[in-house]
Amino acid sequence: MSSLALINEFLGQPPNASSHGYQIDHILEFCHWFMGALFLGWSAFFVFVLIRFRRGRHPVADHRGVRSGISTHLEFSVVLIEAVLLLGFAIPLWAKRVNQFPPGKEALLVHVIGQQFNWNFHLPGPDGQFGRRDVSLVSNSNPIGLDSNDPAGKDDIVTLGELHVPVERPVIIELSSKDVIHDFFLPDMRIAADAIPGSLIPMWFTPIKTGTYEVICGQLCGLGHYGMKGTLAVDTPADYQAWLKERAELAGGAQSAPPAPSPTPGG
């Protein structure tokens, strides 16, 4: 398989950092090999024909032209390859993405709430319970409208723009949005999904390399769309615990305010 990886690198795709990403990359590679072969084959034929049958070289056209059924074979093989890609790779892969979420205990569950123009991350804290959220409670100091009366929410961690996760552990993200549609795209993790107001969209991945990665907002969401950047830090388990602790202390201090939302509200 590794020989196949050529095309993606050649085209500049950044290295993969998640456990399922290789499968995505393989589909892309297969597609590009397939397209490349078709393109080169056709181009060769094309250039040959243009030269061989130009008027100067071939003054009298042949009324009937090609008689062989070669094109049928070609079309049939295109169908075949597409069918293999579809049935063998694409459909099973997607089914795994949306139907086989890692079991609850094993995975880290994060709520992600998009807003113009930032990402809010909501973690359940030590008790493992998410606090209740309500739009009517949303304010500058409480960007996700966490209910301070709900005991489950007392230890919740809310961060703006930056999420830490431990390496080698599945992460499930439940996406939603406060205002318009955003798209949570982690290019290095080969994963993306829209954050649509009014719905909850789950997605999951398992990071396999520590590092800091960019989160792109992949859907036009207003004038600050181009700068709607998040950070995903994949930590070693120890670093992750340290981060959790630091955050928990912050959260202990009566819902201390994360930084105010970005200064460029959209419309």
Binding site: L11, F53, V60, G65, V66, S71, W94, G198, L220, Y226
Partner: protein, 621 residues
Amino acid sequence: MDAATSLETHPHAAEHEHHELGWWRKYIFSTDHKVIGIQYGFTGLIFLFFGFSLMMLMRWQLAYPGQALPEIGKFLPHIFGPNTMPDGKMTPDFYNSLGAMHGTIMVFLGIVPLAFAAFGNFVVPLQIGAPDMAFPKVNMASYWAVFVGGIVMLTSFFVPGGAAKSGWTSYVPLAAVADTGPGHLPIFNGQTLWLIGFIFLITSSLLGAINFIATIIQLRAKGLTWMRLPFFVWAQFVTAFLLLLAFPPLEAGIIMQLMDRVAATSFFMPAGLVVNGAAMQISGGGSPLLWQHLFWFLAHPEVYVLILPGMGIVAEILANNSRKPLWGYKSLVFSVLTIGFLSFIVWAHHMWLTGMGSAVSAFFQTTTLIISIPSVIILSAFFISLWGGSIRFTVPMLFATAFLPMFGIGGLTGIPLAFNSADLYLHDTYYVIAHFHYIVAPGTIFALFAGIYYWFPKATGRKMNNFWGKVHFWPTLICMNVIFLPMFLQGMLGMHRRWYDGGQGWTLSGEHVWGLTGFQWNTPISWAAWIMGLAQIPFIINFFWSIKHGKKVNDNPWEATTLEWTAPSPPPHGNFITAPIAYRGPYEYSLPGRDRDYTMQNEPVEPSERVRRKTAEPVLV
């Protein structure tokens, strides 16, 4: 219509018709399909150029984000308003307006009026041997609807807040909250005008589509059976059906979005939105995805509206210049019908990331891949048609041949997008931008240029200059590729579309690929776009100059076979002196045993031929 159409029962009524029409009725409010076709053509070209100019502005911002645009930048705020380019520096809102309007104008006011309406109007009735369209007055109405729609769209640049800025897709809730609040007028704001303008554009397309279909069904000349129609007519026929049946659901969507904006309904908005820090006062209960379904139900068939007429034009020109029949005419017709049919059930491939489950995504992936097959068949048939030909590289032929590999690149790069697991990575990156521009820009636009050079003699009786045509072709071809090839690289890097800063602020666009960073690639792309702008000057001059001073030619300068070349150039009112009769198929080039290498459709079949080719039996209707 009255006087003219009651002719059959009252022959003397025709006398009314033959008095001279005034200048206004003849050139402005004309019901003659040729005049209307030319009106559409000019409108389409002007909007194409306008859409291109918007793009050239955006390319400045992408290549040199935050820098003042020299010279022109000082001047633009006087046209578009002070908040667009203060000190020559583009604001994010203006960038978004330019992007949304570039997409909208190119698709709905550039290509559709040109490829579908202009060529369809001018060429189809001539090719089927009809005197005019079936409903000339409706035809005029459809032109004026597009005109009004265009004016409304243009007006929207000058209202407070500027033109629509939520992408050509106008996804809600963004579009529903855009251009509202203080500083915006209730109706005269960008997004509302976009919606209103759209209703006119839809009306125009619907009227046009009805007219085309009725004309092709009812007004075919004697003997012109379905399997003798030029491929271009087939392409237009299918295109018309796409417009007819796909546009109305979007119209429903547009009406609902308009209601959301002017009557504060919430068809597309759920409850509990917090915009600008305040909870929105709406009833909720709507769904943002409903809009996307209605939009893409049109917009996918729409992309075939953009390409099928182009394919039709290319087919005519390939046959004509290779001096040989199209290979596999029947499979071409079958493929184009299949594309038309399937294009209605693939739309959700634009919505892979909206949280789609496995069943629905499997369905749409399958249909999307199936629809690529007829495209492969069409392209293969075109290529194979060239084999054994005697190819003359006239200017139309240059553009038509270039169309093939360009469409090939665009179409092939649609394949990774069709798999949702691969599109997961590519969605809304420049890879998508490159994919569809390869189809619509060096694809469709080349087909249109080819068509203009090809049918210019029919419309004016003169030919466009050959040399300047070539000067137009080569730089345009090169620039197109310099513009769009690097975009695939940018897309693979992860660079996204609709980025105001061209990716400058992202570490990922700082990665090197093929010698430059993703961001740095913006510069050669932009320069190529501007140079391509210069390369259009020979075309524009050639076009206008040739109308008056081009070389005079006879009625059939390309020695073509289809019926439009039997009419005088330019054809008079009513097109043909006597009703033509078709005795044979559309591409009888290089028939063996004839002294000319082309046999026109209206040439009767000779007895000697009849023995040899049973199919040539004339069928009279």
